[in-house]
Amino acid sequence: MNVPLRALSWATRFFWIIALAVAVTCVYSATLIRVDFGEPLMNYTEEEFMVTLPIIFDNNGYYSIADLNITTLIVDFENRQFSVDSTFIAQIPPQNNITLFHNVSFDINEIVTRAEYLFNDSNFTLHGSVFLNYASIIPFGFEANTTIPWGAPLFNFTAGLPEYSSYNGTHLTVHMPTSFQNHSPYFSVTGTIRIEIFNDRHQLLGVGTVFADVPSNTNYEGEVETIVNAAMVTERGQILVFVETEMFNYGPMVINYG
């Protein structure tokens, strides 16, 4: 009995020494991992707004990081999903560092086609999650939420009542004041504001445009001018307002006059 008992004792001792050595080195090794975030790069095209976030994983530990999966999800206040992006890295070996670029992209049109986002400030929620397999034996993950403020590019858009002045004996100049505040921290509103004036018989009286270049967090006040045939002007009618920019198109906004 003594020999197997002694063998079992030694086996138990070795087992615990190895298990504790693995546990201690895993814990210590995990403290040697450094994660840094680089400066995010923003890029937008006509269709897409993309934020590239450089993430530097400095694995100074003794074990590899495998199956690294970073996922971001953007939803609005009604939980409508705007974007889901994932970045996957198969392995970061020990004593290595790696810079990965996680792209968060969303379709601008999806946002700006919703009038509520053009005219009202709001908040989006960014859900971020990271899952990885540390040392191939410890799956680890974390999830976090953050709020992204959305500033309306046409906040408080106002088109005033048209004012008429004489252009010549047969035509009138119509002045239509417009104003808004570009609350967007992300982009300028650069484009044209176009108006189409109709009389009560739905005849087009005139079209006028004005160019606007409104940087982020600035106000715009201007007026659109157009020349109309005085004989066709009626007491009542409609003015259609269109906003056409690099980032989005909106319209028509219908204003009844008279």
């Binding site: 009995m1 079992l8 087992f15 615990w16 814990v27 210590y28 403290t31 410890i138 976090a144 939420n145």
Partner: protein
């Protein structure tokens, strides 16, 4: 059983207990020093999941077992304490590792660590210890029985 009353009395006399007591204190002190050294590695995890409390409870229990085991060394109680210790370790790890998957929240960040591998290793190690303690107990009883038989044979 094979153990005579005189043997039992001899095991728990003041003379026999004093060296055991000091040895037990010495071994417990070594465990405590190891705990102090090891706790340096756990600083980054303090604040998570009542970690410090659970770790301290474990170390205190372990020290108690080391102390008691040394105090009752050479008796049947040594093996019984060893069996209880093995079972305690299994129950402790199963409890603190929450069946292996730990979820906790730190400043609005939800963290998940899957420690099922370690749970399996610790349980396996404890069961090995449990098996060893059971075998030691059987061996101890067997030896005592043999001693008694030899004593009976000689007396014939």
């Amino acid at each position: 059983m094979g153990e005579t009353m005189k043997d039992r009395e001899n095991q728990f006399t003041t003379r026999a207990m004093i060296p055991r007591f000091f040895k037990a204190i010495f071994k417990t002190a070594i465990v405590y020093i190891l705990f102090i050294m090891f706790s340096g590695f756990t600083i980054p995890f303090e604040g998570f999941y009542d970690y410090k409390l659970l770790f301290t409870v474990f170390v205190v229990l372990y020290m108690v077992f080391v102390f008691v085991t040394e105090l009752v060394r050479g008796t049947i109680f040594q093996h019984i304490v060893s069996i209880v210790q093995s079972l305690m370790i299994v129950i402790y790890f199963a409890y603190i590792l929450n069946t292996g998957i730990i979820n906790f929240t730190v400043e609005q960040i939800n963290l998940m660590v899957d420690l099922r591998f370690f749970l399996a290793i610790f349980v396996l190690g404890s069961l090995l210890g449990f098996a060893k303690s059971m075998l030691s107990l059987l061996n101890w009883m067997n030896e005592k029985e043999e001693q008694w038989l030899q004593h009976q044979i000689k007396s014939l």
